[in-house]
Subunit: 515 residues, 2 copies
């Protein structure tokens, strides 16, 4: 339709090597701010109605809390507790008070001070896909998650600056469950220098994980409480239920001054109302209940609002990602988070079974939903396949490209007189080109984002090179990153500082996860 | 990382058939409004500086205009013309006057009145990938574009409501160039009922194309001028040049009251400054020159601002799509269009050679750039591969899914008391599910967007079904659409009304494209 320039892919096409190869651009995407204005999926009145409806749900219907200790805390705070049904009805004045003590801005500590983050509205952080029971890559195929996969994916997280917080991408199922937390903490502490993740799988595991952080980082109790060294995600059991490990995790992390991300996992049409607005109202009620438990445990405890709301696929019953409903839910969750003034967590992901076009669409559409919803952190933003059942190594690399594309936009582009380049335009005659102008030569090395895996060569060159898809090219990239991996300097000596503790704890029976 | 619900893909996963199959959702995406607030890549001052700099470019440096008739029109309008160099320097008062006569809202006519569109800021229209010299599908492979491919892709455009304006996706290279416009117009007029596209490839071709529209639609001259029946895209030859067919097209369409979309194709670092701000300033100058030519030809002529600005890939010299620079350029172009108050055209696309994850990333990232830039129409939004060298049938289907995802968001979701569903939440006990609630049963058939090609089945079912990628599944979809295709009722009798004209015009030698 266009003239020959556009339809032929531009005169530039084929000018291979017309410009000197570009050097690496700086990709230290630290403490990024979201460059986009938050969007609105619902009116201010509708958001207020969702918030009020959520308060009604907690006040009139209540939430089932399985942990005795948590119900005691709610009772002491003035909630109405029915021990037979374990139902807790929380008056809105209790919730409102909790929202006044929840911090608006949280310092996330890291072994490397340069990796510290400020967790608040306006920040833009990314976490890799996490919690996957399986792993997949083009060379080894699909397999149950093991310690090798857990460590490899941690090192991939560490290898890309655009991943800001660590998480367990692959579950090391070959490590016995009563010893697994030792291996998982050792893996993070010996290989990573970004903010850490600790599973809330029981009191003893949590306390031992905290102790390993103190040992590895050389912290006394005051140092450990100075900012947040450990973060966990708490999922309520929608609808309206807080189970034992989740309730206990909120309490244990609050007492230790560490961060919980309260994330109801509401599937519209399954565990939540089929309408996005109704599912958001339920999500909001459950998140407020968890935030309240944290604050009545310890006023000022670092806590994050969380939303992971999508629709169920009516055909397969699976959770859908990147659908219009998912995007709308992300934007609506952001409106609710801003309504209560708290930082919040969103998520992307993919239901696809393979790192194909569908997987890219699902992940990128949901990523934009999270970014346009002003999410403080977007979880599962690299590598998720099968709705989280599998962590794909190639998918991880492909997603990093998308995250880096968004991250580049966090830095404004120059538009001063020098950048506008009136003189350069004057120098180039009509129909000429800018390749050799001083304006170009001064800037070409850092002017553009340099693709990680995208291949823009023409069809002939692409065929000559083997007609590889992006997912096929990604294999060489993760292999190279793992081959080149060197643990950060700040991890030196960590193994020695941990071994005695881990050996003794293991010999004394370890710590089983609690239900 | 999450609890078992989330990491296992949700309890919903595996509930195959727990909910009755969903009926088709209405997908008549007509006269959509953009639901997103336009974003800003540059400050208001910077946008004003780009606009002022563009006026300086036209006033002090000028633009080379190859067509004598166009230079005459500029001279009569008061521009300074140097016949030796063919350079035209346009005073800002001439440009400013043109911007006052350019219409803000344009009625796009269609054979089917329900397909009419209002072309203005705030509207959100999509056009398929266009102008491709080659075609590709999984069954026939990559091949030079021919009439069969041209007609098949027109029928695919007609088959999806989310494509709002027609364009020549595939160039019918097997039709002699002096007869090609007859075949292309017949194809549109006999198979399509949406707003039409006419190539500006010379005066006689344009006039004959307009005549075929009048004959097919039974329009007299007044009826043809009542709104816009034909649209074309004008690409300036960056930097600072308007060639013969482009200049002539602007004049011919303006005189006939038909719409030109003035679209400089500026590749930052190649035919434009390497900075996005500088490339935008050049784009703006060239677009203003074309808009001015249209208005001095015929005040009030329907004309659209256009931007197709991305960066050149420094490694291959190819145009890049969906890069941070491309997204920034889309948003910046929207700011410039709103600065002058005119509707505008953006574009997406892909450089990838195959419908893989890269192709999806490139197209979706650029699509969001266009949507967040408030583009009135986004061109090349389905099917483009190889930077426009090839139209991919499977890529077309995969992109339709993305366009429908965006289109669904143009309709607000219900959030009244009934939608919030407090009573439904009250009916479902903690830990229960909403599958069988009245609230769900009343809504499940139309609650969610129904995927076109996405497959959310679990890994086992997916393997049983042949482990097909989305691109492989897309083949069956376009084949079915073509098999089911029936020309719209409004096209009945069109062939009879055109044949005599086409036969006579062909016998009298047809009409060669003009340079």
């Amino acid at each position: 339709m266009e003239n020959q320039d556009e339809t032929r892919g531009g005169r530039g096409r084929g000018r291979r090597g017309a410009v000197p190869p570009m050097a690496n651009v700086n990709t230290a995407y630290v403490r990024m701010r979201n460059p986009f204005a938050p969007q609105q999926a619902f009116s201010a009145d509708q958001v207020a109605a969702m918030h009020d409806g959520a308060l009604r749900v907690l006040e009139e219907l209540g939430i089932k809390v399985l942990l005795d200790e948590a119900r005691d805390l709610f009772r002491k705070a003035g909630a109405l507790v029915d021990e037979d049904s374990q139902m807790v009805r929380i008056g809105r004045e209790i919730v409102t008070a909790a929202l006044t003590t929840a911090p608006r801005s949280i310092r996330l500590r890291a072994a490397n001070p340069a990796r510290e983050q400020v967790y608040e509205l306006g920040s833009m952080l990314f976490m890799a896909g996490a919690g996957c029971p399986n792993a997949f890559d083009n060379e080894r195929g699909r397999r149950p998650g093991d310690l090798t996969g857990y460590l490899e994916t941690l090192r991939l997280q560490q290898s890309f600056d655009v991943i800001h917080m660590h998480g367990p991408s692959v579950e090391p199922q070959d490590v016995p469950i009563h010893l697994r937390h030792y291996a998982m903490m050792k893996g993070q502490l010996e290989n990573c220098d970004k903010p850490l993740f600790v599973y809330a799988r029981g009191r003893q595991q949590v306390e031992e994980s905290f102790e390993m952080i103190r040992l590895a980082r050389g912290l006394d109790d005051a140092g450990f409480r100075d900012g947040v060294w450990a973060t966990t995600v708490i999922n309520s059991n929608s609808p309206r239920q807080l189970d034992l490990p989740m309730s206990r995790g909120i309490i244990d992390f609050a007492r230790a001054g560490q961060m919980t991300i309260i994330t109801p996992f509401c599937l519209a049409g399954a565990m939540a109302p089929i309408t996005i607005s109704g599912a958001l109202m339920l999500q909001h009620a459950e998140a407020l209940a968890g935030i309240t438990l944290a604050q009545i445990t310890q006023a000022g405890a670092p806590v994050s609002y969380g939303g992971f709301l999508s629709n169920v696929d009516m055909k397969s019953g699976s959770p859908a990602f990147g659908t219009p409903e998912h995007i709308r839910a992300c934007i609506g969750s952001g409106q609710l988070a801003r309504h209560i003034g708290l930082p919040w967590r969103s998520a992307t992901g993919a239901a696809s079974n393979v790192a194909d076009s569908q997987a890219a669409s699902e992940t990128i559409m949901a990523l934009w939903g999270a970014v346009l919803g002003g999410a403080t952190v977007t979880v599962h933003s690299a590598g998720w396949l099968e709705g989280g059942l599998t962590l794909g190594y190639e998918k991880f690399i492909l997603d990093i490209e998308n995250l880096q594309t968004i991250a580049e936009l966090a830095t404004p582009a120059p538009a001063d007189a020098a950048a506008l380049g009136f003189d350069a335009i004057a120098d180039v005659q009509p129909g000429g080109h800018f390749f050799s102008t001083a304006h170009t030569m001064e800037r070409y090395q850092t002017a553009f984002y340099r693709p990680l895996v995208a291949d823009l060569s023409n069809h002939g060159s692409w065929v000559e090179a083997g007609s590889l898809t992006a997912a096929q090219r990604a294999t060489a990239i993760w292999k190279q990153k793992l081959a080149d991996f060197v643990a950060p300097e700040t991890c030196a000596g960590v193994a020695d500082r941990l071994d005695a503790f881990v050996q003794q704890a293991s010999e004394s029976g370890g710590a089983k996860p609690e239900d």
